[in-house]
């Protein structure tokens, strides 16, 4: 098993290498001069001062040299300093990760807790009323742009109902004054989380319920289920003990894929709700031309993606004894 994981990890090196080149090239193409961004709007500096800053930031060298220097630093987890936050990029990301993580965790728990029973029931009564309802539900869910759904929720729920906040993560006044208790803070954040969590949960339910349903259907058609039935077992036992356990396999794989994704933010949605997560920070960093942030967050997303694929494969190999580790 360890050898399998080790081999898969080695496979990742060229993948990450190419992705970092892509990211570096993207940021090279970005408009504007990072020196100006560093100095801020309307600062009065002479050309000599600007040249000195340029040299200090290492911007006077060619792109290839800078790429390898950057890569060397990335390997040591040194992503430089954020021009906007005036702090090491790693620290900035470190604080915002948890805002994305806490929201994603709630969404993931809800999504799995709902989709597994729903998926099983849809599979057992295939094409029944319950199944058809969820078919329509998931179709609408995957077809609705998440940001539009978010706007509708804000328009029809948050605007008429005064105690549901429009956006943000905390009530500004409360956060400035300080909360009375931890409970108070948790409640405040929770109520801000309500709408984005609804949107994200519904959009993940749309694909998850289908996924669970299809993997249960696949299992139900197997010979060993027929055997279990012909043995005279109760339908409940057949479904929950024999079928579900085997259907769990692809679901666990999916869970493996999801876990690294918990740390990444849903970019567009966080932007709509002004949720201070990783996705939102990437967007504002792009607008602010905070290039070291943009690069670092892109690398971060790439690592999450690659880890997700790896986790999916590894968890599959772990759960399914039929898969031989080569």
């Amino acid at each position: 098993m360890l050898r399998y994981i080790g081999k898969r990890l080695l496979h990742l090196i060229p993948v990450l290498f190419v992705i970092t080149i892509v990211i570096f090239a993207i940021v090279e193409l970005m408009p504007g001069d990072p020196v100006n961004a560093y100095l801020g709007v309307g600062s009065k500096t002479t050309i000599e001062q600007q040249t000195r800053i340029r040299e200090q930031l290492g911007l006077d060298q060619g792109p290839v040299v800078r790429y390898f220097k950057w890569l060397g630093r990335v390997a040591r987890l040194d992503f430089g300093r954020s021009l906007k936050y005036r702090k090491p990029v790693v620290d900035v990301i470190g604080t915002f990760i948890w805002n994305s993580f806490s929201m994603n965790l709630v969404v993931m728990i809800l999504a799995f807790a709902i989709s597994i029973p729903v998926g099983i029931r849809s599979a057992v009564k295939k094409y029944g009323r319950f199944d058809n309802f969820w078919t329509v539900f998931s179709l609408t869910g995957v077809s609705m742009p998440s940001f539009f759904f978010a706007l509708l929720l804000i328009f029809f729920i948050a605007i008429p109902i005064k105690w549901i906040p429009l956006n943000g993560m905390r009530t500004t006044l409360l956060a400035a004054k300080g909360y009375n208790s931890t409970m108070h803070e948790v409640l405040d954040v929770a109520i801000h989380m309500l709408l984005p969590v609804i949107v994200l949960t519904i959009s993940s339910l749309a694909s998850l319920t289908r996924y669970v349903r299809n993997s249960v259907i696949e299992v139900i058609n197997q010979d060993y289920i027929r055997t279990a039935r012909s043995k005279g077992l109760a339908e409940k036992v057949v479904i929950y003990k024999h079928a579900f356990r085997n259907a769990l396999l692809p679901i666990v794989t999916l869970l493996g894929f999801y876990i690294p994704g918990l740390f990444g933010g849903a970019l567009i949605l966080e932007t709509v709700f002004l949720w201070p997560g990783i996705g939102n920070i990437l967007y504002t960093s792009i607008l602010d031309r905070d290039y070291s942030m943009v690069m670092a967050i892109n690398v971060f997303y790439a690592i999450l993606m690659v880890l997700g694929n790896l986790m999916a494969d590894v968890s599959y190999a772990l759960v399914d004894p039929r898969i031989k580790v080569k």
Binding site: I19, P31, L139, V142, F148, L151, I159, Y283, Y301, M305
Partner: protein
């Protein structure tokens, strides 16, 4: 002489049954699939109205009418007017043209790249297959949303407004092909071993003709399904990008950048007719395409016997 009309009919029916090819079978199954028919008709209606409404409309896109700005829906302006007094209904359908075009062309790029790479990898196998599939794996590992957003932000100011939509289509296409490439490759690997390919070899056909004319058509079912589904997701991606202001930018209307107006809180709260209709249109379009795609998948799938 006795006539046997019955037996004649039977033989005709038998002939007909023998003549039914895979396409005919798929079409018959598709016709029976009511959901797919609904999706297809809805999509056709949207397509036709997007083409026709701007022609019929008595308003023009370039007409500014500041005296009649921010008007709510009425008999004269069915969906009201925007902040510059332009007819929202007209902009909605003109925007639809762009959004649909981006979707169709992005799907085209995806299919072209996916089918070619998958076809070549599957046909040649060995080192070529290895290299191409490693490359597909790398592209597949690129996180889609952050990368698309970063690239289009990087190129935003280098590309003029009218070319931006081409930029967006290529971006979406270039990042979305690996899924289809894998599918096509898998199919071709098994098709390659069949007898008709031996026949093409005996005929001395070129590799190009063997891939494009004999192998790819056999994977067409997958390609068509994948094309419809990737069109749906391309429309959603374009909408998201334009909503963030990183896609197609005004004055060219698209559904995404019409919703973008809702980021202005006053427009959002008071002028709902400016941003709800484009959102509804995106939803209807994507639902119709997805229904069509699912229906096609079922019709082409020989295992599906509903």
């Amino acid at each position: 002489m006795e006539k046997h009309p019955h037996s004649v009919e039977l033989t005709e029916a038998q002939k007909k049954a023998m003549a039914v090819g895979p396409w005919r079978l798929a079409w018959d199954r598709f016709k029976k699939n009511r959901i797919a028919l609904w999706g297809g008709s809805l999509f056709l209606i949207i397509l036709v109205s997007v083409l026709l409404v701007p022609v019929i409309s008595s308003y023009k896109l370039s007409e500014f009418d500041l005296a009649n700005k921010n008007l709510p829906p009425s008999g004269e302006h069915l969906l009201g007017t925007d902040e510059q007094g332009r007819d929202v209904l007209l902009r909605l359908f003109l925007g639809g043209r762009i959004s649909l075009r981006v979707g169709i062309m992005a799907a085209g790029v995806t299919v072209l790249l996916g089918a070619l790479v998958g076809g070549i990898a599957g046909y040649y196998g060995g080192v070529v297959d290895n290299i191409l599939m490693r490359f597909a794996e790398i592209v597949y590992s690129i996180p889609f949303v952050p990368t698309v957003i970063s690239i289009s932000a990087a190129l935003m100011f280098r590309v003029s407004s009218e070319y931006k939509m081409y930029l967006i289509m290529f971006l979406i296409g270039i990042l979305s092909w690996p899924g289809l490439a894998r599918l096509v490759r898998g199919q071709i690997l098994s098709l390659r071993e069949q007898e008709f390919m031996l026949a093409t070899e005996a005929l001395g056909l070129s590799s190009f003709s063997r891939i494009v004319r004999h192998l790819l058509p056999n994977t067409l079912a997958y390609i068509i399904v994948s094309a419809t589904l990737s069109m749906a997701s391309a429309i959603l991606t374009e909408a998201g990008l334009s909503f963030l202001g990183l896609g197609v930018t005004p004055p060219t209307p698209t559904w995404g950048n019409m919703i973008e107006r809702a980021r202005d809180f006053k427009v959002f709260r008071d002028f709902y007719w400016m941003w709800i209709p484009p959102g509804v249109m995106i939803m209807l379009t994507v639902v119709s395409i997805n229904l069509l795609g699912e229906g096609l998948r079922d019709s082409f799938d020989p295992k599906e016997n509903r």
